[in-house]
Symmetry: C2
Subunit: 671 residues, 2 copies
Amino acid sequence: MDLSSLTIPLLASVLAIAFVIYLIFNIMKQNAGNEKMVQISKLIQQGARAFLKREYTYVGIFVIIIAVLISVAPFLTNVELGWETAVAFVIGAIMSALAGYIGMSIATRANSRTTQGAIDGGVKGALGVAISGGAVMGMSVVGLSLLGLIFVIFIFKGNPSIVNGYAMGASLVALFARSGGGIFTKGADMGADLVGKVEAGIPEDDPRNPAVIADNVGDNVGDVAGLGADLLESYVESIIAAMAIAAGMGIVAGPKLQLLPLLIASAGVVSSIIGVIYVKVMGRRNPQSALMGGTYISAILTAIGTFFIVKFHGAAFDGYSIYGPFYATIAGVLSGIIVGFMSEYYTSSKYKPVRTLAEDSQSGAALTVTGGLSVGMASTAIPVVVLAVAVLISYHFAGIYGVAMAAFGMLATTGMVVAVDSYGPVADNAGGIAEMAELDPKVRNITDNLDAVGNTTAAIGKGFAIGSAAFAALALVSAYMKVADVAVADIKEPHVIMGLLIGGMLPFLFSSMLFKAVSRSAYKMIEEVRRQFKEISGLMEGKAMPDSAKCVDISTRGAIQGMLVPGTLAILTPVVIGLFLGKEALAGLLIGSLITGLMLGIQMANSGGAMDNAKKYIEEGNFGGKGSDTHKAAVIGDTVGDPLKDTVGPSINILIKLMSVISLVLAPLFR
Amino acid sequence: MDLSSLTIPLLASVLAIAFVIYLIFNIMKQNAGNEKMVQISKLIQQGARAFLKREYTYVGIFVIIIAVLISVAPFLTNVELGWETAVAFVIGAIMSALAGYIGMSIATRANSRTTQGAIDGGVKGALGVAISGGAVMGMSVVGLSLLGLIFVIFIFKGNPSIVNGYAMGASLVALFARSGGGIFTKGADMGADLVGKVEAGIPEDDPRNPAVIADNVGDNVGDVAGLGADLLESYVESIIAAMAIAAGMGIVAGPKLQLLPLLIASAGVVSSIIGVIYVKVMGRRNPQSALMGGTYISAILTAIGTFFIVKFHGAAFDGYSIYGPFYATIAGVLSGIIVGFMSEYYTSSKYKPVRTLAEDSQSGAALTVTGGLSVGMASTAIPVVVLAVAVLISYHFAGIYGVAMAAFGMLATTGMVVAVDSYGPVADNAGGIAEMAELDPKVRNITDNLDAVGNTTAAIGKGFAIGSAAFAALALVSAYMKVADVAVADIKEPHVIMGLLIGGMLPFLFSSMLFKAVSRSAYKMIEEVRRQFKEISGLMEGKAMPDSAKCVDISTRGAIQGMLVPGTLAILTPVVIGLFLGKEALAGLLIGSLITGLMLGIQMANSGGAMDNAKKYIEEGNFGGKGSDTHKAAVIGDTVGDPLKDTVGPSINILIKLMSVISLVLAPLFR
């Protein structure tokens, strides 16, 4: 491809980063609140930093080992891997880690400033800071990932087998951020709740609870860094899949089609910035409609931009019209919106499923849990049919290139989606700080209001993350089959069937390991909190401070230890299957895990979301309200649902993408 | 094929039926116990009859509609369906229904005789009657299904496109028996427990509880008729799949290979009879080892028989050795044993998973449930790998014919497996009768001992049912692709991907519907029991009888209503996909649902079994014993697990088989 054509995407990435810098200055000049608020915020910052430091140390070890293996691969076998792919891989990992670091640092600084914003300027003041905090993560994700990608394309002249390594680096960081982060956040949450609320009878976010800081850190670890790394990965992978597929399309259409996703990404950057500004301007009236409006505006602007980009920079190919990729992209955008809306339908207390679930809780916890599982299972139907139709449409208009472009269509506005999603934990933390700093309940009311809005957007974001992950993985698998020269992967062939069966099983095995890791981490936290309540004299009376750092450390260790085995499994399985059972079996493996992973991912996210909101609906005074037996049943449901929606479900996204990108990078090995 | 060669299988089926008649005489001449015992047994018999009558009425309507559609199909399209297939279909349905009717009638008559046997002859006396009761179901399943099949083959000269209809008939009855039966049994169970044990505080099986009879009927409906129809279907389908595949193998090898499964089935009949006799003779010492011993003996005898059958009646084909089918069969037998053993490992309180789960229950119900889900998910790993390897081995030795033979290898001893499984509910009912008739606690101890043995064998039977269902479905899909001329079903093609995605989703949607049906049925039961406690004066004092028939009626209605929508979905989806998206998409659909169905089936069976036995382990006095908070948590876990293992999980077996057999029968339509 013509490297000079990278100018526009390069400018877009620089624009995104400039916007991040502007937002950071904007946030940092806000009042961080009184001494106590600053102190609490500092504890959360320290906790977040401690987690990231440990996480990145382990990521670093994995990155080095894998980079060395990729570098020496040409000496062991005669494949087209080498130090160049290793360099791209390392840069991908660094860019994702850097985005996570910046996003977390600012999100944990925006929290007390959001609280102070609520004191000084009410909803408007709080929302402005919170959305800026979220947007730092969102725009860092797209800006840095795009910048790194362009750099890699530039220095390695767009050679796909090298550039693919970049996505693998992003994927490895996402594994640690999502699975590790998910274990961290739920281990801390369950530990804090089970001893604090249940045993000691103190309220949520009570400063006497040693695990509260870890719990607040966890919100950022899971929903800022985790989600950001997850979507960054999907974003990069769908671009790279489209480029890898386009690479084989001849010297006329090929370069143009390779450039297309980068140009659309540029349109997405500009649209996302406009979306964020819209939320900041309009948010003073109605936060909910501002957030939704901003999201839709950036999607519509991106769609319009895509039309003109395709018109002027597209190319007809393989019998498909020049507008084929446009239709495919639109199919992706629309299916993303529908999948997101279905998540809202099944998890919001505005609609029937959650209300029925709350009602069913009157007959005890068992019916809450089976009802919650059932809601999640039912919620797979429409999104899956929509995704399947989108695959068919995008393929119809632009072949497998279209599938990759549809995936990217869902992801072009990643900047805005992550901004809206990361806003949630900032608002949540702001509420926690208001509670811990014992501020006027009015302040907490404002932050609670913003937090509730964040819950809806988070549910939509989760549906979106799963849908786009499945689409991105499908694009990667298509690219893998193309690069590995898989002429046919026939489901009649026993190797393919074997791959499908084993692949289908992996998300179940992976899930069971993550469940165990969360429980183990929660148990350790419970013991530690009990110990501190017993041994630190004056703690329960509020006269002594708890040792929060110790709790953060326990969650961090639990997170890293808990994800090493499943992570290694995810990395090694495709390699082993590809080498020993062949490239067709590996294709089966990837598709098998994509199928069960997609279903489990949707089910778990929505089961968890529905049980969470059924509990909240009861807490609003329905079916007996707080403290009733119905509420107790719903609390059990929520505790079951929490690791489903925040640890296991999101991690499955990563599993299917990681295995697919590894297969794509190592495709020459299996040829 | 040479129809005279059907003599041996015909004799085997007659032998099985003769053995059934002998067993029935043997049971009926036993003392049925005192007046009260007879009265209770009569109520259970009446309830079972009422359920079967309603079920078979609805089955009849479905059968007639489908038979008419099949008969008129040639006038609408030019496919090779017609009245002959419809006749085979009706005969298949009748044979399965008849086996279920005989099995249920005798099982519900063997119950009080087992109780009396315990009074008169201790363990030995009780076991003898209970295993005979179970064996009536087991040998009816193989005897009648084989007889009907031979009849159909004989009158239609072995034409596969007609004979396939027979399997579809068996499948339709299995749908009603498994899904309807599953909803019946768990709706009744949950209703009886939630009002009786929890609200009214009366013990299990208390005669004052109006739902107790329905609960006891449910044990038979689910574990006798349901399991029997399920395995009968798999049994017939794996034979038919092998025959359909063999039909295209030329005039030399073809007929021989078509006959092979029937001859092996004959060996299986004889081996199963020997196995049952072994249990009756050896059971006086140790019931557990007698049951396991009988199962292994019949498997080993069948394997030996298979060797000689293949040696003298087999044929080399398509480059495979004459012994190819033997190796394939052995791969099936071995994988069945391993899958069964893994079920025991994950669900028996002798091993670590259940003990850890019981320990985790100390931290509350949420951790019991997540732990239980996690155990089930982990339990998918080894069985799936074993099945995948068995597919590879059987394919290696005998192509897709080998896959069908491996499936049949798991199922050749169906007579014995069903006998051992159906023994469980007879022993369980015997215990219920001892309780309700207020007999000496010693009697209950004996039946409880037999019941506990039954629980282990039931867990193994469930694992076995799922493994064999998946294998049978795979054989059917292979046969479908052969008959429908699916040259290639490439997972790169968007139609196949669409099929895989939608197929993968169906077991989730189907499960959510069944969950809802169970809850709805349980709610209605709860209301009715509450009403009777309130309105029937003297009931709680034991002076008046409850209206048990009303409760049976509620469960029956709930069962039929609850399975109509998911059942229709299962029947129509393959037809719609096949007609509108094509035969390749349908192949994808079947494989997709097989993958997620297999995983969910194993997970649910083992999650449910593990939570059930964790509760029992705590009741034995561990971690606080009965009445402790740990026990309460475990009871919630068990209530969540019950519909998983007894309704939803087993119904998924049927879903994947039913869709596959419909596709096979209608394959000419999609060609």
